[in-house]
Symmetry: D2
Subunit: 302 residues, 4 copies
């Protein structure tokens, strides 16, 4: 397995030059575009890693999956899905699409920023308590209590967040978000700034692949399926459809270059490659996932 | 199995009264809203049916899957997917969304009317030859050479097709559709009017479940996966996301009340129930699929 | 006056090189981009012309003003304005904007293609009878019975009309257009192809400037004000706002390069200059109108 | 004249019951829906008033005209109109329309909230200094130094401003708004809360009708025409087109029920009637303006 991972990295890492490191906040721009790492964990707990798989990076949008799970546990499906849909969409992750329309509108799904700001707002606790609960859950799942916020990223995001701020105020205007907007946003920026490596991601992937078993999660199996389904439909930003066709592994990406992959009942996967394609996904990461899927028959649609 | 099917029908058929038979063309409005039938076929060719599973109904949007396959075989993936995307969407099936924008736009996916009119246009042959090839393929797959167009439906659709006509002219205006618009539309209406029963649908489902094997389909396995993936993402109109979460069986519905279901490597499924929910899917059919999926563990995301 | 006109032409004609002759139909593309003509007629019937003011060109969108007047005379304000609004808009003339929305929608105003196709449909008579009535009205106003359709333009427009065809089918789908779509479109293309020169346009302008007096028009004064107001708000495509601010003369342009100007109680104006700006208005024509407005204090907002 | 005004009030005041007082902030909801007042001032300074024309109310959107003038004086036309258009629109005053699109977008005009927030941001000075300059200008124009902010309204608006806050953050995200968002919004809410009566409004109207003469305004004549034109095109929210057709008096309304009317070279008009139509305009006020326009031939399009 490690050989396979190494081979895939060697074969594809040259593609990094077609991608671009995220730069909307300075700290993300510091990443080395040629870094590429991958880690796979199987149901027996075996860990296989290659490349820069111990590099650290922030969760960014990958945290949306965890926020969804906690919102569901705290509020139940009915309340959560009355405020955010489970509809895949072609819209960009930071879309305001149809927020302007008079009819009853809710964000299409919790993988969009608008949807994720809502799920974060639904997590119990005030401000930082919300993101602390996400952090705690991740520490618990990974058994890695060194995981923490990356403060510089957090502060940067908070400072350059005009669009997310606009989205949050709109959501409150539409009665989809309660409470203090700045507090919710603070939690949202904090959860995005949680710092992990590929091993941590693979452990999170395995947590879902294994149906949340051996964790004290209410209706854990159902929660896992729900997360896996939503990742399958809309986990890779505007590339979700093509990714489903080409890779077929339920995944969630972040603009830091991370990809969380879940192969139900088989593997958890963590990938890191900060050079991004135009959708905001790791360009080398997607390619490696595509080839890995073929090599190991990971495609759930086959 | 037949007992299970019967039980699911008995338990859920009362929900038909919350649905409504399609009425945009008179002939569809004649269907009995309380009819409900289901047929399952396994990999050994065993057929299990219950309820009105031998009732006949027209394919309607289910034909879009076949048009996609033929377009891919005739033109190759590159050409097809340069004119129609593989992106799931929240837009309605007859959406004109963003057709108005100046940038390079293509329909989100081939399950929308706009996308399906394009795939039909890409099938080789002129006018009726296109739909005849779809008919032929279906006869071949089902070994049922009695399958034919339902002429009254075809004529009705053709007469009340202002919106599809508008879509087709727009597509030509955008250089996404070549040739004679009326000829393409004629083929499109014809393919929608192909008349089948649940057994035929189950056979088509099995064709995909079995990866197009034992048919002379180029790259058949890949074609099957492609169809299954796109059905998973956008086969159930605006309900596709919720259906994936609740049912998890790759499916395609039509406004006549039919549902084509594919459980890769296991089953082909055909359902018929003309009472529709607000998205245009069989209301009883969806409920039965949900419970069947739980009973037989059909959910591909689990 | 003629000196002034000549001076304005000399001063501004060099701007033609920043514009482009319309080319969506070949016959329009044959116009000489450097041609520029203007004609002014005062309330005493004095005619002042300069440059290529006797060149012939087709009315194109200028015909929308006449179609509006006839629709109002034939059907009354209530019926007409229940199907087309009197709201100015930033949308492009061939916009489908919000045609896709479920709520009760009507085209913003009768200067958009969508609105004009409706007003044409409301003129009494079948197919060509509609446009013949527009032709007749124009002959009557101008006392020029040589005015006729330019057949080549008409045939070209008809052949390359996918977008207008799409708009018309959509309008029928929305119950805003009755009757045979192709017949209505035929009348629409015919009215666009009526061929005039600047003297004819100036006479039409004077007809409105003089409140339709001495013509047998029911509520003529009111009709004139209505036409003048709508031209002020939305007569110059997407440039209407800027034109109101800079020129302040109620005007309607066409992609052939014509501009119809109305100075209530003072002048009728006809301009021709086929080099168009990016909005579809005569680029030299707009500039000359701006300076003429300043020289003769024509701005109605002053 | 006073008789005429009284007659128009008596005849139309019953229509107030078809309207509704604005209630998005509590203090507006306290207005008496049946109040109706009007004041006209002619070029000789004669003042004619009737009804509740000495009632006080806040400027609300009427302040947008003053913000535009100051922004133009402080920054020049080129800078202002590079950030906000002069295009009329069918969009609602609080629209986010097309803010979501990737292409170079600017608000259609300075009478929309988005456009007005920009013009306020362009007025020189920090935070409250901006609105103080508007207050000063109004005191100067009206020679009424008692005019001041209505503090309760100001505080209410500031508290319930999620949508305007969202718009402002979006504008900054699009590089259309510099500086501190909360400071700009503070100035915007302050200018909306300036309290006047119909006499004050009529004086402001006369200021424009008289082309800013006898005030020390640079290019005053041009500024007046600009304001008058933009009020004509988009001063009455979504009703601007119909109002131009029916009334033809350049006007700007506010949700407090005020209407500022300008008849160039003849009159300044102030109307107050807090019962609003569905567009946000004084329902009785619009009707009185329509009849007044007919009685005194005020329509600029005639």
């Amino acid at each position: 397995m490690e050989k396979l991972l190494k081979r895939l990295i060697e074969k594809n890492k040259h593609m990094a030059r077609h991608g671009k490191v995220a730069s909307y906040i300075p700290v993300l721009g510091k990443a080395s575009p040629n870094d590429i790492g991958i880690c796979i964990m199987d149901m027996d707990g075996n860990i296989y890693g290659s490349g820069n798989y111990r590099n650290k990076f922030t969760l960014q949008s990958i945290s949306k999956v965890m926020a969804l799970i906690l919102a569901l546990l705290d509020r139940g499906e009915e309340e959560v899905f009355s405020k955010v849909g489970m509809k895949p969409t072609t819209e960009a992750f930071n879309s305001l699409y149809r927020m302007d329309l008079p009819d009853k509108w809710i964000p299409s799904n919790p993988m969009l920023n608008s949807g994720a700001i809502i799920t974060t707002s639904l997590i119990k606790g005030k401000g930082r308590e919300k993101s602390d609960r996400i952090l705690e859950l991740i520490r618990d799942i990974t058994s890695n209590f060194n995981i923490d916020y990356e403060e510089e990223t957090y502060r940067s995001e908070k400072k350059t967040a005009d669009r997310n701020r606009a989205i949050a105020y709109l959501l409150r205007d539409m009665n989809l978000l309660d409470g203090n907007v700045e507090e919710v946003l603070d939690a949202y920026f904090r959860q995005c700034s949680i710092e992990v490596d590929c091993v941590d991601l693979a452990r999170i992937g395995l947590f879902f692949a294994n149906k949340c078993k051996s964790y004290n999660i209410e209706r854990g199996e159902h929660m896992a399926t729900l997360a896996v389904t939503i990742m399958s439909l809309c986990g890779m930003y505007g590339f979700s459809g093509e990714y489903a066709v080409k890779v077929g592994v339920p995944s969630k990406s972040g603009v830091s270059g991370g990809i969380l992959g879940v192969v139900p009942n088989r593997f958890g996967i963590g990938v890191y490659g900060p050079a991004l394609d135009r959708y905001g996904n790791s360009i080398v990461g997607c390619k490696i996932m595509e080839e890995l899927s073929k090599e190991l028959n990971l495609n759930i649609f086959e």
